[in-house]
Symmetry: C2
Subunit: 199 residues, 2 copies
């Protein structure tokens, strides 16, 4: 059976980078954007749409014209969301079956619960997350500190809702994870080397 | 500067054992009961009384006749509590200064915050804590599952109050720790070897 590490992370905590570097250190596969691409390929939905669905609770107002343009079902948005979730679960299970890997987000900890993955939760204090978001901000993003703090809170709120919808559990609850890692004032690269030693 | 590991732990999570074994693995000092004994020695209060004060919020009803029998102060219980806290902080700082060590409980994470210790929080799910408490129960303890669950909740509630009183922070908040470790279904001995690799 393959060894799987799942990473749930607060926005701005560096969890994605930690996951990528951990996979590099351990020389195992890393899945993140690949999952979006694969869902898009299999469902013929756009990657942009899949990404939006992934991080939102179902039935939040989406522009449903993105992706397919014709819907035979009475509630097409709901159906499309469900398609994304089902495909996502299937792909995550396939990836975890194929080889050792690190999977970021997407409730992989819950989807793979029978495989007993090592479930990490990565978090940091608000100021540290703000700094990290500033450093990694896309070119042209000119948010004030206040706006950026709000953005971080909103994204985490959506992650929490999405997790709760799919799993019935509280996203930030320690009990859903084996190890919770505080990245405040940490250099992610150094932290990844240290965490890799656990394996 | 010495390397210090502080351990906060839920009752029944095996945090104390993890601390002891971690100190053994790393061949560094381990402080727990030693702190109680040292406070008792320096203050002439009984160990039993010191232990009771340590895990309670101040001014909860104590039998104040334990320990000294004469009080010149208008509020002797409060004074005695404060004496214990002050002595405790002093001893913890001395121990951390002396050599590398593991310190269990007693808000050491907060008392030593300027030394930047590695702050661990050890937790587990309720059923796992119940099982561990059963295994380690003192001879003659005949609590029902319901009573034992209540005892676990009460002890953790006191730890949380004590922490909040001394630090102004929430005991179970991940942000107060560098690493939170879930011991559910884990063998503490094996876990300690794994965690020791982080150092």
């Amino acid at each position: 059976m393959s060894r799987v590490i799942t990473i749930s992370r607060e926005f701005g905590s560096g969890g994605r980078e930690l996951g990528r570097r951990l996979a590099e250190e351990l020389k195992i596969a890393y899945y993140d954007q690949e999952i979006v691409s694969e869902i898009a390929r299999r469902t013929a939905l756009s990657e942009q749409y899949v990404r939006a669905v992934e991080e939102q609770q179902p039935m939040f107002s989406f522009p449903i014209h993105i992706g397919r343009t014709f819907y035979p079902a009475p509630n097409p948005a709901w159906e499309q969301h469900m398609t994304v979730y089902q495909e996502q679960s299937r792909i995550i299970r396939e990836m975890a079956e194929k080889s050792d890997c690190v999977i970021v987000g997407r409730c992989a900890d819950y989807i793979l619960r029978e495989k007993k993955p090592l479930r990490l939760f990565v978090y940091a204090d608000p100021e540290s997350k703000l700094r990290r978001c500033r450093e990694k901000a896309p070119a042209g993003e000119n948010l004030t500190d206040r706006e950026l703090r709000q953005k971080i809170r909103d994204i985490d709120k959506n992650r929490a809702r999405y997790y709760e919808f799919l799993t019935g559990k509280t996203w930030s609850d320690k009990l859903n994870y084996d190890l919770c890692i505080n990245t405040t004032d940490q250099v992610i690269k150094d932290l990844a080397s240290v965490i890799a030693r656990l394996f």
